[in-house]
Symmetry: C2
Subunit: 471 residues, 2 copies
């Protein structure tokens, strides 16, 4: 093996997740997947690499530039996936005949974008998507948003607001102001998308700078932003938008949004959703409802959208002979994780008690390993029986003598240590030491499972026991 | 958005996982992760992309050629990770001061190799690794192998045999035959590695072709292969190997292997492990024990090694100022999945009952959605109370009229359907239909959770109920 020294470093915009971060992150991902599955979404996976032509032209010019694109060893033009939506559309078109539509799928996987790294923005990050492909209509549009909300609640986010829009509501308002040309609309939406950060004044300046300084442009933007001043109670904002429309198409889209709202209420989301006609999303492919989600706790209100998506009925058709309607939502896992860390609610109720089986010396080694084997075999069932399944881990110490093992256990945040010395071995007994308070007591080998189940329960239920995360 | 038609296709050697494969695959990955965590291994993650210099020279010349290596948008020389071990070594060196060693880590993640695709060999595949970094000795070497064996048992593989070797046992046998030159040893090991497929004759031919046709070369190979003829009972093979050594170093390595075997017995692996001095592994970085694992059921005995690894004490030191000893094991998830599919044991005990809430029409929509919301909120606790946590999924139908919804439910393998028609809505009742046997019965809204918990239990416990996987 080459032994030339190499400086250990990661690429700009890429991260290692050490256990201190990864343990709560993984607990969060598991909770998310459990909700998806409880709602009847099934997992699927697509490759990290795609032919570049599959991805190009779907994310706008800006997106194309951010692709990790290269020629592989076979000189194929390939790129790392940029999101999970376009590969899904490719998959649905490719496997149309093997899939029973509607397909309810979820996927949790990394995506890659060669963005300029900045605080909270990385070049590799995990997306967490759910989609329903092969269904149109109010129920699908509501169901996909409701599963996203259920996830926020499951991971411990209680303060959030979903912003709901429909592409045709947006277009209808623009038409009513005389803005109808596609390129003009795109340019205008790019500016409106910044309203949150820049306010009306900033947006109007942006419009002018983008060559959209006519009255009809300003009027369109003014209407969109004014709608958001109307109290969103008793359909007030919907009524205002309906009255702002100049044609049946726009009014139909407003009525449709009203139905989606009613379905969301029935699914238990009353009071969680507001209409916001300025929501446009950056991506090109949305055709119907559009969602974004803001956290409302002041501590994390500036975290941006933690969950967004919408309907994209045209995307699958690019790859296949038949169009397949689809609606989806994407959660920003890392942003959500940061918010939960900030809110201090992460990982509650999933703490795990670590039991370290120490090795006193060579002559007691087999006894200690045998005790570990017994606990690993029988403790899970004992914990499940008292409602604490999977809440303990059994480690065997692998480093140096007993003193070093104990120091290591403390450093790594282990909870309980078991010791079998020569005298104990002769008496078929072991010592259980609580590493937090230092209390220790002796027990027979035969009682090990029962004793440890009790100790784990005591540790988990003791409100003063602050669980330390391993580093 | 560009609407040019693009043919939907995946790159050679890359795969989509549709739900029919992905559901059992994910169940297997969860079971694997649960074992790792119950044994005190914590998750960590490294990026998919590394600086090429991190990976180059660690896998032999052949491995270097198989890297997905390219220049990124910032003209950096980067490559997709080839395995999970070298990035771990880089991480340990880079974050040495933030980690409390010994670190027990696991990682389940894809790796990329530009291999010539063939049956069962892909260019993107998931590896599943556990490592203990920062510990030497018998207990660490045994613990890492025992967790791998626990995983095989947890996923339903009962017939397997672990082949155990030590680099110094191998080198000791070679020295005893007068083979000591490093390049010569490497070339010879490459041939010995093929003994399984080619037999002694084939290996001897290969030796000759590789310019290793001297008596000492043939003698070394003969000794290695002869050891495997010695019955591995009562340390017979260990004794034979000890007698075959010409120096203390070789004998010490044999004694060490004996200690590892004893520790594995204490950890509950008696009868599972045999010494095989021909095991060499292809990779360059092993320095101590080396493991491979074969499935013994004749149906899958030709699947190759499903779990392999060893000690690599020199790897971290390449990246850091200090060496950090480490031992690890890697499971071939896809190969294991194929074996479980072949054995028919995959996914047993984790079937999920799918409940489809249908939408009769617009006037009953809110009631159906409300019923779905109630079940999603309260059914999980009801199922947990009867020992079936997480064993049901509640879907809302999103496609067309009732007839189409029912057809879709049957096609996708749903188990139970709930219907609320106008008459039922007036009476605050719903119909529960068993989609397998067609039996249907009416119930009050108020009894929904109780009724469905019972129906799920009945379905899961009915031995005639063959669970259909969704496609």
């Amino acid at each position: 093996m080459a032994t030339k020294k190499v400086e250990p470093r990661t690429l700009k915009g890429f991260r290692d997740y050490l256990p201190g971060t990864m343990v709560p992150r993984q607990a969060m991902l598991r909770a998310i997947e459990a909700v998806f599955e409880a709602w009847g979404f099934v997992p699927l996976a697509t490759p990290a690499l795609e032919y570049s032509e599959i991805l190009l032209g779907k994310y706008g010019d800006e997106g194309d530039k951010l692709l990790y694109r290269f020629r592989d060893n076979g000189d194929r033009d390939v790129a790392l996936r940029y999101d999970l939506t376009v590969p899904l559309a490719r998959l649905v078109a490719q496997h149309r005949n093997e899939l029973n539509l509607p397909l309810r799928r979820y996927q949790v996987a990394p995506v890659w974008r060669a963005e300029n790294p900045q605080k909270g923005r990385f070049r590799e990050f995990v997306q967490c998507d759910a989609d329903i492909a092969g269904a149109t209509g109010v129920v699908a549009d509501a169901e996909i948003l409701a599963v996203g909300a259920a996830i926020l609640e499951a991971v411990g986010v209680s303060g959030y607001r979903v912003l709901l829009n429909h592409r045709e509501v947006l277009y209808g308002v623009l038409r009513a102001s005389g803005v109808t040309e596609e390129g003009e609309i795109r340019a205008l939406l790019r500016e409106v998308d910044k309203a949150d950060k820049l306010g009306l004044g900033g947006v109007l300046n942006g419009l002018a700078a983008a060559g959209l300084g006519e009255h009809r442009h300003r009027s369109a933007v003014d209407r969109l932003l004014t709608a958001n001043e109307i109290p969103d109670l008793c359909d007030g904002r919907l009524d205002w938008l309906r009255s702002a429309m100049a044609d049946d198409e726009g009014r139909a889209a407003v009525a449709y949004l009203g139905e989606v709202l009613a379905a969301l209420d029935a699914l238990g989301m009353a009071g969680r959703v507001v209409i916001d006609p300025t929501i446009a999303r950056g991506l090109d492919y949305y055709t119907g409802v559009i969602y974004e989600t803001r956290l409302t706790d002041p501590k994390v209100a500036n975290f941006g959208s933690v969950m967004s998506g919408g309907r994209y009925d045209g995307l699958v058709g690019i790859f296949g002979s038949q169009p397949v309607p689809a609606v989806g939502i994407s959660l920003g896992v890392d942003r959500l994780l940061d918010a939960l860390l900030e809110l201090g609610t992460l990982g509650r109720g999933s703490e795990r008690v670590t039991i370290l089986v120490t090795i006193f010396g060579n002559e007691t080694r087999a006894a200690s390993l045998g005790l570990a084997a017994t606990l690993r075999r029988d403790l899970p069932a004992a914990l499940a029986a008292i409602g604490l399944p999977g809440r303990a881990a059994v480690e065997v110490a692998t480093e140096g003598g007993l003193k070093k093992q104990m120091q290591g256990a403390n450093r790594r945040g282990a909870d309980l240590a078991l010791v079998i010395g020569p005298d104990e071995l002769a008496a078929m007994r072991f010592t259980l030491k609580d590493l937090r308070c230092g209390v220790q007591e002796g027990h027979d080998f035969a009682a090990a499972v029962e004793v440890l189940a009790e100790a784990v329960q005591k540790r988990l239920c003791d409100p003063s026991a602050e669980k330390r995360h391993p580093s």
